[in-house]
Symmetry: C2
């Protein structure tokens, strides 16, 4: 068997990686005696955990992909690599079946790509879990007249039920919780708000395709008061006295609605302390992340207060 | 064109759904004049949002799948269905390419299956987002000698760095945060604990495959004290005075380590109030979910306290 092609990293004009030359040399060593003396490899880079990531971008015939995959796997086994990742954009869907038949499993998918994975060692897999949670917010917007901002929805489980509820929404990937709360209120009702605190959150399971859900109840001050409701999803929106909100039959029946009532009263009448965001820098880079904590409780013992 | 097969729901011995007969009748009506008078449909059930879910389980040739998919799509368009979902177990990987070529996108994948989706209407898609967050815990286990339970890890960014850190881990899909905290401590160190509070949490972005991350700092009381470290991932484990932990160069440099120090002192010396779990029942079923809140702050205004 003789395959007259040469290392992907040499034949392409794309960026070279440190893997390039050693990989080719090692593969040629590994193949001595097999009759294969030069094989094209898959474009791969090392990850931080002893594995490799193949980021396929160029179209290739499934048969040729299979040859490259088998040669690459032979090399990676020799190199004692651990996890092998293959990222296939949806345009390269014709390669999915080949990878699966070689023993790859799905890891995760987004609309535009599929990620497959293979664990080489005999030891237990340390492949990290896929994203497991969706994150949502409920926005308690409270004005000086002891009124809540409430909406009736056109879609979802409350549609056409006449239930007045607080604005809710999904926190996007990459979005901060406090930003999501102000964004959702603005989108649904046109009201500008200032984020105050997370009063509570609820974790629930099997909420969607088997995934878990984290729902953060946020407390916000309004900065504007004229409602401009969103037409597509919102049937009606208004300011409503807390007592009227809490007196709804649905709200009396369901614990989460009762907790919203309790939390509002605790917050405005008893100075309940929730969690607020503090900017922090990441351990691994300079990116800002937000730490949510009981800031009043924390400040009592911070060095700044002892000066 | 004449396809001599008949409705999936009639030809199979499996459970029938409400869709079965109307679907077949409507399809036959829809196909009058096309020369197709009896077509096998994909096995589908309605969802709660005006869409349909196809749960493929039986092997089928891609060509035949294509015929069924096209006939089914014709019907669903006539019925003004919205989202069309196709769940393909990994064994049916040979059908992925066909679905994608008919315009389906990936929605999400788990090791054993791929979920594809298609939005029929002209209106903006309301297809729910994929899971966006991974959830982790850090466990502050505090004994009566003002010592923390700390470990050195064999893997990850702290490997071979000589850094003493609190036990951390990933919250599994379907697992409650407080349960994950006690589980991780037990797994890594053999110590039994009682969960007390979430002291703070941090949201960070782009932490893994573009996903976001929620990391909950939990405070726990130990119920046992003899350490039995886990061999695979843990290099060393011990009880360490808080001052010694905080004096590590790495801990002085990184904000999250400093916050752990601040939060410990606030909690034990100033009675800092974090969030604790309260069991609640779901809005849509009887399943228990946990609401995490500042329970002391909440109880002050709960009806039980006024009796």
């Amino acid at each position: 068997m003789y395959i007259h092609v040469f290392c992907h990293w040499c034949s392409y004009a794309g960026p070279k990686t440190e893997l390039a030359i050693p990989a080719m040399v090692e593969l040629n060593c590994a193949l001595i005696g097999t009759g294969i003396n030069h094989v094209k490899l898959l474009p791969a880079s090392n990850d931080d955990h002893g594995g490799v990531i193949v980021d396929m971008r160029e179209p290739v015939e499934p048969d040729f992909f299979l040859t490259m995959l088998r040669a690459s796997m032979l090399l990676w086994r020799q190199q004692e690599k651990r996890g092998v990742w293959i990222k296939l954009p949806i345009e390269l869907v014709n390669l999915v079946e080949t990878a699966v038949k070689e023993g790859f499993c799905y890891h995760h998918a987004e609309p535009s790509y599929l990620m497959l994975v293979y664990w080489i060692p005999e030891t237990p897999s340390t492949i990290p879990a896929n994203a497991s949670h969706r994150v949502g917010i409920g926005a308690i917007v409270w004005n000086d007249k002891r009124e809540l901002l409430v909406v009736q929805e056109k879609i979802g489980i409350f549609r056409r039920a006449g239930v007045w509820k607080i604005p809710t929404g999904v926190v996007d990937e990459g979005e901060d919780i406090f930003m999501a709360a102000t964004r959702e209120v603005k989108e649904e009702t046109g009201i500008d708000t200032e984020f105050q605190e997370i009063l509570a959150f609820r974790q629930s399971h099997k909420s969607f395709f088997g995934k878990s859900d984290l729902f953060f109840l946020c407390f916000l001050h309004p900065k504007s008061f004229d409602i401009q409701k969103q037409e597509l999803e919102i049937e009606a929106a208004q300011w409503m006295p807390l007592e009227e909100y809490a007196a709804q039959p649905f709200a009396k029946k369901h614990e989460l609605f009762k907790y919203i009532d309790d939390l509002c009263l605790a917050k405005v009448d008893r100075n309940y302390a929730g969690f607020s965001p503090l900017p922090t820098t990441s351990i691994v880079n300079d990116r800002i992340s937000y730490l949510y904590s009981n800031i009043r409780g924390l400040k009592l013992s911070s060095p700044d207060d002892h000066q």
